[in-house]
């Protein structure tokens, strides 16, 4: 079906989230929607899916104007959403999960007609090449397959317009390729697909049309056949950005971080890091590449002292830190940019100033004998906001109300406000827009050139290739290969991330 949004405007107090946005997508076409965080993509899609009502503007489906009072109305009209965070009941099997809320029932008591549902699901998955075992339990399925279940859910509800919100965020490069194949076959079958992302490669690869949003408005449209990544990035940010921050060759110095045969257990006490050896030298950026959940989180937590280790050795600047507390590790000059900044890096309901001193509040000049010098706190925080270009109404604003990029800037400003010898950055650009990514990369390279050792955990190949001096690929708790930055390519990294080791063959 043809979808058209005309002059959609949505005002929130203080923010014009959508300002006369008009987009359209033809039947059987893939519309790629690009935009930074806060550009209004989510608001627009929430309007399309009936969660919000626009202040003004119209929605047309096949030329007919529609208004959605609630999500149910949107689903009835054929609009299906696949959210970033999957909404599946883990203990259900695929048939139950897909049919939930749209069950076909039989008989006097209205029992769930499982057979009918199963039949339709099998048909749909064959038609669109969505390979799924209908009887498998959701909790046993890998993320990529769960996403297929989400797509099946939408198709099961007769969605002719499918909205995919950042669908590749959780996928391996290989799974992403599979997803694109599915999207193409959906489009070929007549489904209209709206593909929301901030990854430039992906829109160029899969979209038929590209629309770029910026600050609540349509910043421009592009034809994927002729547009370049650079053009799209500039359109998104509204200025010239550097997709790859230029950096000189690394000048590795002394070993700062030394990890030997490290074994660490995860929260379920299963071995997550299975004997890792690693060295990071002053003046180089070592990237741990890999799909999320292969032990990177546990590795970094062990180095920071947040997670007890099972066996092995860790030294930082020559000090053994296997049994050190997080504060002790931090006092050695270790900056830590946590993976989950919302949960671990910041406190939403504390102010920017309070977050700025979150890990050095007990030291001079912020406090003397346990009593704050609020003037010093405010001065330093204001300076940090200025130096790191944090866009905030004031230092008394709650950190939770800032955009993702600015939240991360608060974390980076805090961590880099003191001299460091080692930087542990776990997915520091996750969820950030192009402009903020450029900024974070610049700061990391700056630290490297200043002589710090950088260990960066990343799941994004673009990032791995852009900043890594050396690249260690982690799979299933082990380092399966270490490449020099210049030897790495999408292909060899993708293979390693999927579990192929240099010995050949697939490990899993």
């Amino acid at each position: 079906m043809r979808l058209e949004l005309r002059d959609i405007t949505k005002q929130f107090p203080g923010v014009l989230a959508n300002d006369r946005i008009s987009i359209s997508a033809d039947r059987g076409k893939v519309l790629g929607m690009l935009g930074e965080n806060g550009a209004g993509k989510t608001t627009l899609m929430n309007i399309l899916s009936g969660l919000y009502k626009p202040d003004s503007g119209q929605i047309f489906i096949d030329g007919e104007e529609r208004t959605f009072d609630d999500p149910v109305a949107a689903i009835r009209a054929g609009v299906g959403m696949v959210h970033q965070h999957f909404m599946l009941v883990p203990v259900f099997d695929v048939v139950e999960a897909v049919a939930l809320g749209a069950e076909t029932v039989t008989g006097f008591l209205g029992t769930f007609d499982r057979a009918a549902a199963r039949k339709r699901i099998v048909e749909l998955s064959e038609q669109y090449k969505l390979e799924v075992d209908p009887d498998a339990k959701i909790e046993n399925l890998p993320v990529g397959v769960r996403q297929r279940v989400e797509i099946l859910k939408a198709l099961y509800r007769h969605s002719d317009i499918l909205v995919l919100d950042e669908p590749s965020a959780v996928l391996t490069p290989y799974e992403t390729e599979e997803l694109f194949a599915i999207i193409r076959s959906l489009a070929a079958g007549g489904t209209t697909v709206i593909f929301i992302t901030h990854k430039l490669n992906e829109v160029l690869e899969v979209a038929d049309d590209i629309v770029v949003l910026r600050r609540g408005r349509v910043a421009g449209t592009a034809d994927p056949k002729s547009a370049t990544r650079q053009q799209l990035a500039n359109l998104m940010v509204g200025r010239d950005v550097e997709l790859i921050v230029p950096k000189g060759p690394a000048k590795p110095g002394d070993v700062v971080l030394h990890v030997e045969n490290l074994q660490v257990r995860d929260d379920r006490l299963e071995m997550a890091v299975k004997g890792v050896d690693l060295e990071v030298r002053a003046g180089e950026i070592v990237v741990i590449a890999g799909v999320q959940g292969n032990g990177q989180t546990e590795l970094v937590e062990a180095i920071t002292g947040l997670r007890p280790i099972d066996s092995g050795q860790i030294t930082i600047g020559g000090h053994h830190t296997e049994k050190s507390s997080p504060r002790h590790v931090s006092d050695l000059g270790v900056a830590h940019i946590p993976e989950d900044r919302g949960r671990d890096g910041l406190i939403d309901y504390m102010t920017v100033a309070e977050n700025y001193i979150l890990d050095s509040y007990h030291k001079a000049p912020y406090s003397r004998n346990g009593i704050f010098d609020l003037k010093a706190v405010r001065e330093r925080a204001a300076q940090g906001v200025k130096d790191f270009d944090i866009r905030t109404p004031s230092i008394d604003t709650y950190a939770g109300s800032l955009s993702g990029g600015n939240q991360q800037k608060v974390v980076v400003a805090r961590e880099f406000s003191v001299p460091v010898q080692l930087v542990l950055a776990a997915q520091p650009t996750r969820g950030l827009d192009v402009g903020s990514i450029e900024y974070i990369h610049r700061r990391l390279i700056e630290q490297r050139d200043g002589g710090a050792a950088i260990l960066l955990v990343s799941t994004e190949l673009d990032e791995v290739l852009a900043v890594g001096d050396r690249i260690a690929v982690m799979f299933d708790g082990k380092i399966v290969g270490i490449l020099a930055g210049e030897d790495a390519t999408y292909e060899n990294l993708g293979l390693l991330m999927g579990g192929a080791s240099f010995g050949g063959g697939l490990a899993a």
């Binding site: 550009a39 939403d348 969820g431």
Partner: protein, 403 residues
């Protein structure tokens, strides 16, 4: 935003909750005024008018019960007769007397909640603190000068209450035992300990068969603020106010308070910042217990004068509601405690003068708490815009994490 408007915004919900609670209370008074309502068939205007008049009378009685009769206070002050003045201002001093332990318990709950610990056991900590003060006073009686007994008793109350708060904090930090369970259970233990202690003839009032301690007033008494017969208001109230200032200072001006608040908002972010999460739990619970214990101590050697099992009378539980009404702010705790004190005091006179049962006050208090807990309800009723909520809505992208 200026300080004043932000203050108004913060106070809007609690104040409107109180107003709404009183309005609903008025409706209940009207609906249960059967004398007037029975005439609604013959004289509707008179019936409704009479019923509404009843509400005015009842709330009027409540006001003068809580704050005294202004004209009477003025006349008494003009004549300068001590006994008259005492009688005239007694209601308001009794309101403050009732508010004193509520301030302590409210601060105790607020400081624990701020640190993310749910101290449900302020009642027990208060009682045990009172027991500590009672034993200290009786042991030291006639051995050392009264001022020493005074300080020692308050100190003992604080330490014992603090120890009773430390236990659940320590258990949580070390073993993960949930503080809601342990504090509730320790309240029972505390009550039975007091009961047990009061069986001892050493503590029990001479000749009494019920578990009540000796009258402590002859041994030690917190000095009164106004020395007039029949007034109980003493410097314990001033100590309560000082504690509110101290708690506010601790929370917002010290690194320890910063750690407590950080742990309260996000335990994991506090850990990542190198703070000791277990340490904050223990400190918060110990301080919380110490505040409640101090309040209990000041009651037995001050306004109440003897220890009995119903000394606390649910203060520790009311304090939970009170601390939430106060938005966990020390200044708010003082205001909310004054409100609760005024309602309890005023309710007594209302009961006497208008025959409306005292329980109506619990009804109103319960409604107030409910409204505070459900701010959306109040915003809807009074049509106020919710700025903070809208701000969060307005930046959905800032919340969207992985991409």
């Amino acid at each position: 935003m200026s300080r004043v408007t932000s203050l108004f915004r913060r106070a809007a919900i609690p104040v409107l909750s109180v107003v709404t609670g009183l309005l609903f209370g008025g409706i209940v008074i009207v609906l249960t005024d059967f004398d007037h309502l029975s005439q609604i068939g013959t004289d509707p205007v008179g019936a409704i008018g009479g019923a509404i008049g009843g509400v005015v009378d009842a709330y009027g009685a409540m006001l003068s019960g809580a704050f005294g009769d202004p004209t009477r206070i003025l006349t008494a002050l003009q004549t300068g007769d001590g006994a008259d003045i005492a009688k005239a201002i007694r209601p308001i001093t009794e309101t403050l007397v009732a508010a004193m332990p509520l301030i302590f318990a409210g601060l105790a709950v607020a400081i624990s909640f701020r640190a993310g610990m749910f101290n449900i056991g302020a009642d027990g900590q208060l009682l045990l603190g009172a027991l500590g003060a009672t034993i200290t006073a009786i042991v030291l009686a006639d051995k050392v000068p009264a001022p020493v007994i005074l300080v020692a008793s308050i100190g003992a109350a604080t330490v014992v209450g603090g120890a009773w708060g430390f236990l659940p904090g320590f258990l949580k930090a070390r073993t993960g035992a949930h503080e809601v369970i342990t504090t509730i259970m320790l309240t029972y233990v505390a009550k039975l300990l007091v009961f047990f202690a009061l069986r001892s003839p050493y503590l029990r009032a001479a000749g009494s068969t019920s578990p009540i301690s000796k009258d402590l007033t002859p041994i030690v008494d917190v000095p009164n603020i106004i020395n007039l017969p029949g007034l109980r208001l003493d410097y314990g109230f001033v100590v309560a106010l000082l504690m509110a200032v101290a708690v506010s200072w601790l929370l917002f001006k010290t690194t320890k308070g910063f750690e407590l608040r950080a742990a309260g908002f996000s335990l994991s972010a506090a850990r990542y910042a190198g703070m000791s999460a277990g340490g904050s739990m223990i400190v918060a619970m110990t301080l919380s217990g110490a505040l409640a214990g101090m309040g209990g101590g000041l009651m037995v050697i001050g306004t109440v004068g003897q220890l009995s099992l119903d000394l606390s009378n649910g203060i520790g539980f009311n304090a939970i509601a009170l601390a939430l009404l106060a938005g966990l702010r020390p200044s708010g705790v003082v205001l909310a405690a004054l409100l609760f004190g005024a309602l309890t005091q005023g309710g007594k006179l209302m009961g006497v003068e208008s025959g409306i049962p005292f329980d109506l006050l619990f009804f109103i208090m319960a409604l107030v708490i409910m409204f505070v807990a459900a701010p959306g309800l109040i915003r809807g009723m009074w049509r106020i815009k919710s700025k903070p909520a809208a701000e969060i809505e307005a930046t959905p992208a800032s919340k969207a994490t992985p991409a």
